[in-house]
């Protein structure tokens, strides 16, 4: 194995195949740094007092019981939760079918236009969100004047942003499937539409389910597009609320709203991971939820 001659970095990188103790400590410290602040924020959403830094006992006051300031009773907080949910559900319902069809089309279509089409699909993934959001804002101001700011404009923005993610999730599955199943179906007399509906789509069902959930999570977490396309008051989402009142907020109710958002998006993601995992298992491949989620997050 490794020669005995160690130089200055040797203590840091001893033997590449031995347990890297220093690195392990560092890596776990890193994880603590990355996760603990959020956990503390969640913890203080259950604080009995008004402080966001002194623990005064456990209560659900900021979620339920406070008559004026809790998530359930404060109209601003409740409105933000409802707006976020409404947008996420609508985005999910619109973006996923469009994205699934686009993924199928792009995966099987070979022609001169298909390459630029692929590029067009990928571009939103690498465009800074502020550029896309500014563009949509100006387009809605000057061009698509029929679309009012607020929920309709926000919905169109979120869908634009989500379509490429759906395509990316679906595409991995499509390439893995190959074409044998459809060929067999058509050899046995299925029409193209039947082969698609009764063979391909059922095979892709877990990936489609995962795409629904991922779109939901993306939409819940989105800030820039929602902010640029909002019409004020009634269309404030949870991230917008955090942006607007994060600095001035005087009690943990904001933490409570943020925790609601966290639970919603992580819950959706956990389900998506489970769906993708069941798919891999059926196909005989080993996969972890984390590996599956990581695949398309870039």
């Amino acid at each position: 194995m490794s020669p005995p001659g160690r130089d200055r970095l040797g203590w840091l990188l001893p033997d590449p195949w031995r347990r890297p103790r220093f690195l392990a400590v560092y890596a776990w410290l890193f994880v603590a740094w990355s996760v603990l602040p959020v956990l503390v924020a969640v913890l203080f959403s259950f604080n009995a007092g008004r402080s966001r830094s002194t623990w005064q006992g456990f209560s659900l006051r900021w979620y339920l019981s406070d008559p004026d300031l809790s998530v359930v009773h404060d109209p601003t907080l409740r409105g933000a939760v409802l707006q976020s949910l409404e947008l996420a559900v609508l985005t999910m319902a619109v973006a996923t079918p469009i994205g699934v069809a686009l993924a199928l089309g792009l995966a099987r279509w070979r022609g001169r236009v298909s390459q630029p089409a692929n590029l067009l699909m990928l571009l939103p993934l690498v465009t800074p969100e502020i550029v896309l959001a500014s563009g949509l804002f100006l387009a809605f101001v000057h061009l698509y004047r029929a679309v009012p700011f607020g929920t309709p404009a926000q919905l169109l923005g979120h869908v634009t942003w989500s379509i490429p993610y759906v395509v990316v999730v679906l595409r991995g599955r499509l390439f893995g499937l190959g074409r044998e199943y459809e060929e067999a179906a058509m050899d046995l007399g299925a029409s193209p539409a039947e082969a698609l509906r009764r063979v391909l789509l059922p095979l892709l069902a877990p990936a489609i389910l995962a795409a629904f959930l991922i779109v939901f999570a993306l939409s819940i977490d989105d800030f820039v597009t929602s902010q640029f396309l909002s019409s004020g008051e009634g269309t404030v989402t949870i991230p917008m609320l955090i942006y607007g009142t994060g600095r001035t907020g005087e009690n943990p109710s904001l933490n409570a709203v943020a925790t609601v958002m966290l639970v919603l998006s992580l819950g959706a993601l956990a389900l998506a991971g489970a769906a993708l995992r069941s798919f891999s298992r059926r196909r005989g491949a080993r996969a972890s939820a984390a590996g599956e989620l990581m695949r398309f997050e870039l």
Partner: protein
């Protein structure tokens, strides 16, 4: 785990099997018809808005209402707004110049910090196997799905004057309690680092994970010290991942305005804050045109990075296919 090429490359392709293959079974235009709604959507709500930015930046101001009048015909484009942006970028005391240089400083510092903090974690992760690796991966992926704003809110809580950070400092006596949230550059840079470092770790991890163990073993067997092996073999082989990761975090950082806003004040605002201010904070047509011109300049800069990133991942995907 070939995450990157599978995502941004074109993925694995099967050859069409000539006229007897699947292509012949589907009617002409079947797949095109499926792709059409999505493509039309992206044209109408991605490409056209892009053009709307250009048209607004090169448009006029309505003489009566003072609103912006975008110029859709390139033949009549007005350079005024771009002139203003360029002037403010070039003049020594120009407002854009000050903010732009500040943005560059913050982004550069945060990217370096992300690399220094993130690379060892990715390296460690690439050497884990089995359950430990899956657990660690899950922990690394979690921050992706926690809203960015929530993660910043967490730090706003911690960094308040009577927040936990100051109290720990007071207890241990390392530092005097600080006013972290009142325009400190350090806070904003650390905030950016905290926000974006997970996005860097995964591509670096993917690159490190692809390295053939035998290559590293060979270097060691041939007498290279572990450190030399790392510097001459592992590090160069992970270059693609480092570059991809850097591009992935740099792109959104240039457009970020919320981190500096939540963790700082006007003294720490970034270029994104100016875009936000000019487009959202004012109804004046001239402000809107200037904001649009600023977006175009920002997008042009960023697109250089984007093109580089797309080209290099496509190349990596091709190599992986071989």
């Amino acid at each position: 785990m070939r995450a990157m090429p599978e995502v941004l490359g074109r993925g694995r392709r099967r050859r069409d099997r000539g006229p007897t293959g699947l292509a012949a079974l589907y009617p002409r235009g079947f797949w095109q018809a499926l792709a059409a709604p999505g493509l039309l959507w992206l044209v109408a709500l991605f490409l056209v808005p892009f053009y709307a930015i250009l048209a607004t930046a090169t448009g006029r101001v309505d003489p009566i209402f003072g609103t912006a009048l975008p110029e859709w015909n390139p033949l009549y484009w007005q350079p005024d707004a771009f002139g203003y942006v360029v002037h403010e970028l070039a003049a020594p005391q120009g407002i854009f110049r000050i903010v732009f240089l500040r943005t560059l400083r913050y982004v550069a510092s945060a990217v370096v910090l992300c690399l220094v903090l993130g690379y060892p974690v990715a390296y460690y992760m690439s050497r884990l196997r089995g359950r430990a690796r899956n657990t660690f991966l899950l922990l690394m992926v979690l921050p992706f799905w926690v809203s960015y704003l929530m993660r910043m809110l967490a730090w706003v809580n911690l960094l308040q004057r009577d927040g936990l950070v100051n109290r720990v400092l007071e207890l241990t006596g390392i530092l005097e309690p600080q006013r972290w949230l009142e325009g400190k550059s350090l806070t904003v840079v650390l905030g950016l680092t905290y926000g974006y470092v997970p996005f860097l770790i995964l591509p670096v991890f993917a690159a490190l994970d692809r390295i053939d163990r035998h290559v590293v073993e060979a270097a060691l067997d041939l007498g290279a010290s572990p450190a030399r092996t790392f510097l001459r073999v592992t590090l160069p082989l992970s270059r693609q991942g480092v570059l991809a990761g850097t591009a992935i975090i740099t792109l959104p950082m240039f457009g970020d305005f919320y981190t500096a806003q939540l963790l700082g004040n006007l003294q720490t605002s970034m270029i994104g804050s100016l875009v936000n201010f000019y487009l959202q904070g004012s109804t004046l047509g001239s402000a809107q045109a200037r904001g649009a011109a600023l977006v175009v300049v920002l997008a042009a800069m960023v697109s250089l990075l984007t093109v580089y990133y797309l080209v290099s991942t496509a190349r990596a995907a091709r190599e992986a296919e071989r």
